[in-house]
Structure formats: C-alpha cells, structure tokens
Symmetry: C2
Subunit: 197 residues, 2 copies
C-alpha cells in the first residue's frame, strides 16, 4: 500500500512538472479570449524577441479575402523609437513604459479588388490574433488606433518611414502588465437576434 502511494506521488510530481512546463505557452482559447483586456499600465520590462515572432506568426494566420495578405508588420523594440512614437500620439502615451510595439500595416493596392475596406478588415483580423497572442503569452497589450485619424497616421508614417501607399492601422502597445487592468464583461444578451433581426 505504501509503495502504491509512493508510485502515485511520483507520478503526480512528474505530471505537475509537465504541466508547469506547458503552462507558459499552452492556454485554452476561450480562457484567453475572455481574459484579454486592454492593458495600459506596464512595468517597463522588455519583451522577448522570440515571443514577438510568435505573436506576429499568429497575426499572419488570420483569414484574408481571396488570400491576398495585404498586411505587413513593423515590430519595435528600440526605446527611442517607442518614445518618438509616443511624442505625438496622445492615445499611446503608455509607449514610454512599454517593452515593444507592433504596427499592423495594410496596402489597399494588394487587397482583393484593390479595396481599401477589405485591406482594413484583413489587417484588423490579423490585429485581433496579435492581441490574443499577447495575452496568451502573459504580456499585456492595447490597440491604439492610427487609422482613421489623419494626424496620427501622418506621425506614425514619418517616424517609421512607411511608404505613402501603406496605411498604418494601429499601434499595438506591448509590455509586461503592471496588473492594474482587468477584462470588461461586454456580454449583452440584447445584442443577439435569433433567426432574424
């Protein structure tokens, strides 16, 4: 009996170690979707480059009309560039405390039917995957809008040397969360219509 217990304990220990190892990157999708929140308060710590690559790969797995992939991604780690962006983006001041940023860009000429609408939608879907990946990896992120604000897009394009024909959709600010931001419950039953409006 004692030996059976020792066996069970050994096994639980191994399972616990395996679970702890998996936990860093394996998170249930529904939990991530409901845990995701706009994080605007960061510790100032850096974001790992391998994690940023994983986040961008998630972005490129989004659907895109007629598989046109009109998107591209600028990934920023450098302190000075993050601060330069913050300087004229009143909605993205938290960049000064963040560890990284991703700008989801899109090019209407490359979208299905050269549609700017579809270019924006495709890039938006990539952006949502990016936000979910940030949450899943234990970082915090927030989508700060560049598009459709002319002044913000102009500043982002100037700082990052973005070609005229390319639209910077957003500045997704990324960092280690300071723990102050919580998810909102946005479920409203009245927003659901069954069968017809």
């Amino acid at each position: 009996m004692k030996r059976i217990l020792i066996g069970i304990l050994m096994c639980l220990l191994m399972a616990g170690l395996a679970y702890a190892k998996e936990d860093a990157s394996m998170k249930d999708m529904f939990s991530v979707i409901h845990a995701r929140k706009s994080v605007r308060n960061f510790t100032g710590a850096a974001v790992n480059k391998a994690d940023l690559e994983k986040i961008i790969k998630a972005g490129m797995a989004a659907p895109t009309a007629a598989n046109m992939q009109p998107w591209s991604f600028i990934v920023i780690n450098e302190r000075k560039i993050l601060d330069d962006l913050a300087a004229e983006l009143p909605n993205a001041k938290m960049l000064t405390k963040a560890g990284a940023a991703i700008i989801v860009c899109t090019e209407p000429d490359k979208a299905n039917g050269k549609s700017q609408d579809l270019a924006i939608i495709d890039a938006s879907l990539a952006g949502e995957n990016i936000l979910l990946a940030i949450e899943a990896l234990g970082y915090g992120g927030v989508w700060t809008a560049a598009y459709p604000y002319v002044d913000r897009m102009k500043h982002v394009k100037a700082v990052l040397n973005i070609p005229d024909k390319v639209i910077p959709l957003n500045v997704i600010v990324i960092g280690v969360p300071a723990g102050e931001d919580k998810p909102k419950d946005k479920y409203r039953e009245g927003k659901i219509h069954w069968e017809r409006w």
Copy 2:
C-alpha cells in the same frame, strides 16, 4: 516495486481520463489560431445552440474603440433562412449544406465618434473571435463578405429584416466540416519589418 508500478498506472489512467474530458472544449490558443481555416465543405449536420451561444460570447469579448460595442449578431439555425440567404449570395452557396450562420452587424451611429471605419473595425475583431471559437469547438466556418458589396448587403438586409442604419458586415457560415479544407501557411518573413519599414 510492483505496487509502485500499480500506483503509477492508476495515476496515468486518471490523468488520461481527465485529459480526455478537457479536450472537447480546452484547446491551446496558438493551436487554434494556426489550425483555423476557411471551411466551405460541410456534412449538413446541425450546430448545437449552446455552442452558438459560446461562439457569440467570444465575439462580444473583442476589443471595441472607447467600449462603444456598436456590434450586434444575428444567429440563424432555420434551414429555410439559410437557403434564402444562399439564393442571392454567389460567394455563400455553401449555406445550403451548413448548420448555422452568424451575421456580424454594426451600427456606425453607435461607434466611437460615430465613425463607420471604427464600426467596421470593431465588428471585424468580434468576427475573428467568432471564427476562432468555431474552430475551437470542432466546427468549421468561413467569413463570406457582405460589406462592402452593396448588392450582397441589400439581399442580407432584406432576408433578415435588418434596419437601414445597420451594416451587415459578413455572413459567417458554420457547420460540421466534411474534412476537405486545410489551413494555409501564410507566414512570410518579408512581411515583417524590424524597428522601421
């Protein structure tokens, strides 16, 4: 020694049962993001109502500019309505074999700054969460565009009695996959710019 082995085997059996139980709804977020594909071939089987509710809840957990939530959702199970939609949507003929559909709607007047651009982006993010939830639950789905096509939006509004001021963004077709559709690898290293364009 034999008893230790019995203990280990009992423990592995319990862990296996626990894992099998979790597997149906607990799927790692990155796996879901990379397994998601546009599914256009369905068995014709129905979609569970509780699953549809879970899918819509995931949609409403998306970020929305200034928390305005300009979105709403029409969820369709009825065979006749699915067929009526298909009748004049050449890009959504697979509705006739699908089990359900979700139309993500959006209302510019309710969006931040009454911006149609932000209304479309908010609804798009909800739509991506919906596609991921469909995949996570083992169904297949495909985003067929209504917006920005005037003729398609007109047909969807007529069939579903959608008010003038509301935009039907898409018809997300949902069903049990027939197994013919596979995810695309859309990763392109050249789409990533480090620090600057």
